[in-house]
């Protein structure tokens, strides 16, 4: 048994965090009036796997904590306890707490014990309070007498109902345990059904056993070895449990709870104040945000496609080598066909590999129901969240990096966009506001829209604010679009009062910068009184782009195809020179600046130095259009983006590099950067 368990930790953490997400979304979806048994089952299963996993890896504090949640959920699942909002809130709080516990273990940080104890207490109160009001006096956790005395093990043994049918007898096992050392056993009769439903061949009991003495763990494990699959088992060192926050065993043994129907008081359990709890949730949430996992889960179908592709590729390769072996000119056609096939397969293979990196945007969206749930109650607003297009697939990197900016935008919508119910009724709107998150593909981009039917952006107010902050001049003439974009300027915050929800004044400019660093853009449409929409445009993937290679002198540059509008030959009549220097050309009704590539990058031996000799590639970047003057257009191709920063640093006007078919390096142009360069 010398397997290094640490190698599985990462997987355990990933699965647990996934499980927590499932629990969270399940809890949020619970409808108090009409509880869906399957939802509770899902939540229960998630909790159960986390408990099992943490037990296996020896994270006993986590196992204990989850066990309490599981007990609560189990009772809900069996209908012995009603699902109430307070209970759900306690569970949501516990999910957060559990997430923190796991993060702490993962980062090897010290756990905030007090917080855990607090949550654990809330859980225990919920458990006991809902169960039997006749036992309130025993409710505070009772420390077990011998806790600090000596070494030993605590065993929570709850056999499945079919334990007896497998030929195992708990009594025998307890006798064996008793041989190891002094034991204390408490039986839990809670699971025993009424007499009429009772099947004597089924085991409904569970036990809490404490074995005292310096006993190796393996000996305890050996005894339970045979029944492991037929029971829920948690073995813990006594010393650890005393350190860990109030363990599950501290529940008073509920021998009195044999009755099959819970008392009606279950619907109204005395628990911690709800408002206090929801605030806690918020404060707890922030540290867990922004995690990025290093591994990725892939749909088997995608892997199968990939394997098929590789198979095809191998066939093509062997076909080509066969042609090559006895080559004569008659086989030229065959060779051409083979090469065409090879090209097709390679492209398909590339697409399938890229596909593996694609994740549905629901990975990001799934956190928003909780956010909206928590924030709306905090802000005293009624808000409904609509998610559209959750299955839209995006590159993993994009998924990871977009979630923080999105959170910010949604918070803004909730805080500033949606009005309070009174204001809404006064404005003749429905009391409940709607925030919509929508994702869809358009061209080579993914578009994510955050829209609300709130009060919209007030242009006059924005302008006044910008003037006050000295961000614009008095006489500045701004279009609607430009006015809205004021909110992206550093130091601009529309909130009149700072709240802790949004409006720290560091928000929107950072949001915009983050999105731009992903190669994306953000657009605002707003109508005063009816709401606003923020649309984020992002490239589908950051690893590959469609490029147009252009020649300038001896150099080859790649222009992202997405930013090219058209390529034209200019005539002398179209060119204007401003003060003899700044060159512009007329394209239909617009005058666009010309950037001479060979000048700005000081490339010698440019073939075309007169504007009429070369080509103007009309490009657009961040809303600015200009013409890039190049010698010639070469080919269009997909290029793999390589970072220049990996081994050097950022170079203005260049977004990266790629490797061409002949093995040489080509640089990829960064259009907004070029515009900035040419302005200097």
């Amino acid at each position: 048994m010398s397997i290094d368990m640490a190698q599985f930790h990462q997987i355990f953490f990933e699965e647990s965090f996934e499980g927590l997400d499932i629990m969270e979304s399940g809890l949020l979806n619970l409808d108090m009036g009409d509880v869906d048994a399957e939802t509770i089952n899902t939540i229960f299963r998630a909790a159960h796997s986390i408990k099992g996993g943490s037990g296996t890896f020896g994270f006993s504090a986590v196992a204990d904590f989850t066990h309490a949640m599981e007990t609560l959920l189990d009772e809900m699942r069996d209908g012995r306890r009603k699902v109430t909002q307070p209970a759900v809130n306690v569970l949501l709080g516990s999910v957060d707490c559990l997430r923190e516990m796991l993060t702490a273990i993962q980062d090897e940080k010290i756990l905030d014990e007090a917080k855990v104890t607090e949550h654990k207490k809330a859980l225990d109160t919920e458990l006991n309070g809902g169960d039997n009001t006749a036992l309130p006096s025993v409710q505070p956790t009772q420390p077990i007498a011998f806790e600090n005395e000596n070494a030993g093990w605590r065993i929570a043994f709850s056999p499945h109902t079919d334990l007896l049918k497998t030929g195992n007898d708990p009594v025998r096992m307890f006798r064996e345990l008793a041989e190891l050392g002094q034991i204390d056993i408490t039986v839990d009769l809670q699971g025993v059904p009424g007499l009429y439903e009772l099947d004597p061949e089924e085991c409904h009991l569970s036990w809490q056993i404490t074995v005292h003495g310096d006993i190796p763990r393996s000996e305890v494990d050996d005894i339970f070895d045979w029944v492991e699959e037929h029971c829920d088992l948690a073995v813990q060192d006594i010393k650890q449990t005393t350190q860990a926050s109030s363990p599950v065993f501290d529940e008073p043994p509920q021998t009195a709870a044999i009755e099959t129907t819970p008392p009606s008081s279950a619907t109204n359990p005395p628990i911690v104040s709800e408002s206090g709890q929801s605030e806690k949730i918020n404060a707890d949430k922030t540290p867990s945000a922004g995690k990025s996992s290093a591994s990725i889960r892939v749909d088997t179908a995608k892997i199968d496609t990939l394997i098929n592709m590789v198979g095809e590729l191998v066939i093509t390769q062997s076909m080509l080598s066969l042609i090559g072996e006895h080559f004569d000119l008659n086989k030229l056609d065959q060779l051409k066909n083979g090469l065409a096939q090879l090209e097709r397969h390679t492209r398909e293979l590339q697409e399938s590999v890229m596909n593996i990196r694609m994740l549905p945007i629901s990975f990001v969206f799934s956190r928003f129901p909780r956010l909206v749930h928590d924030l709306s109650s905090k802000l005293g607003k009624k808000i409904e969240l609509q998610l559209i297009g959750e299955h839209t697939e995006v590159d993993k990197t994009v998924v990871e990096l977009i979630s923080d900016p999105l959170v910010h935008l949604v918070r803004n919508s909730l805080d500033h966009g949606i009005e309070t119910p009174d204001e809404r009724i006064a404005a003749g709107k429905q009391e409940t506001g709607t925030v919509t998150l929508e994702a869809y593909h358009r061209g080579g981009n993914i578009v994510i829209e955050v829209s609300d039917d709130g009060r919209g952006l007030d242009k006059d107010k924005l302008r006044a604010k910008a003037l006050e902050k000295g961000l614009i001049q008095d006489d500045a003439v701004l279009s609607d679009k430009q006015t809205f974009e004021l909110i992206f300027m550093p130091g601009f915050s529309t909130a009149e009062q700072l709240t802790d929800v949004s409006g720290r004044g560091v928000g929107m400019d950072v949001v915009k910068r983050n999105i731009q660093s992903l190669g994306g853009n953000i657009d605002i449409v707003s109508q005063l009184g009816t709401g606003s929409t923020m649309a984020i445009y992002l490239p589908l993937t950051l690893a590959i782009l469609d490029g147009q290679s252009v020649a300038v002198g001896d150099e080859t540059y790649i222009i992202p195809l997405g930013s090219i509008i058209e390529s034209i030959n200019v005539t002398e009549r179209m060119i204007n020179r401003v003060a003899g220097k700044g060159e512009t050309f007329r394209l239909r009704q617009e005058y666009l600046p010309i950037i001479r590539m060979h000048e700005i990058f000081s490339v010698p031996n440019a073939k075309a130095t007169k504007l009429t000799e070369g080509l103007l590639v009309v490009v657009e970047g961040q809303g600015i259009r200009c013409g890039l003057f190049v010698d010639d257009l070469l080919t269009q191709q997909q290029v793999v983006v390589k970072s220049l920063e990996a081994n050097y640093r950022h170079v203005e006007g260049i977004s990266g590099a790629t490797i061409l078919g002949d093995g040489s390096v080509a640089l990829i142009l960064d259009i907004p950067g070029l515009v900035r360069l040419s302005n200097h």
Binding site: E555, T556, I600, F601, S602, V603, K642, S643, L644, A646, N647, Y648, R649, V651, E652, G653, I654, A657, I659, G663, S664, V665, A666, L667, L677
Partner: protein, 165 residues
Amino acid sequence: MTNNQTIAKNTPASEQFLTFELAGEMYGVEILKVQEIRGWEPIRKIPKTPGYIKGALNLRGAIVPILDLRERFDIATVDYSPTTVVIVINVATASGQMVMGVVADAVSDVLDIRHDDIKKAPDLGTNIDTRYMRGMYVAKQGMIMLLDADKLLNPDELDQIGHLL
């Protein structure tokens, strides 16, 4: 090129240095920093970079910038010849490992140099910067300047370096 240093056993108190030639002078870098030595081949220029950055090379899929030490040190440039080499060096920076290539006239030797034998770089006056030197070593062929690759090739500092010699 035989001298007793190359034969000397490598003890913990000594280090191996790759020495190379630059305009008749000898320089050395820690051999553990050296990834490989390649012949010079034409590379792609990177615009808007200082002249000593000759461009970028495709090194098995990675884009590696190439730096000309002659230009870096303000020594008169010469046309690249068949002996011109690119020494590919691993540079440790704050953000992790980087790979860079430096152009040298020729590589000459690998020397075992005892730490005790490394002399502090002399104070060459205020207009000569010795921060990027680990020290000096006197070999039979003459003086060898031992460079600190991490400091010399750190992209953030590249621009700030004054004249080394």
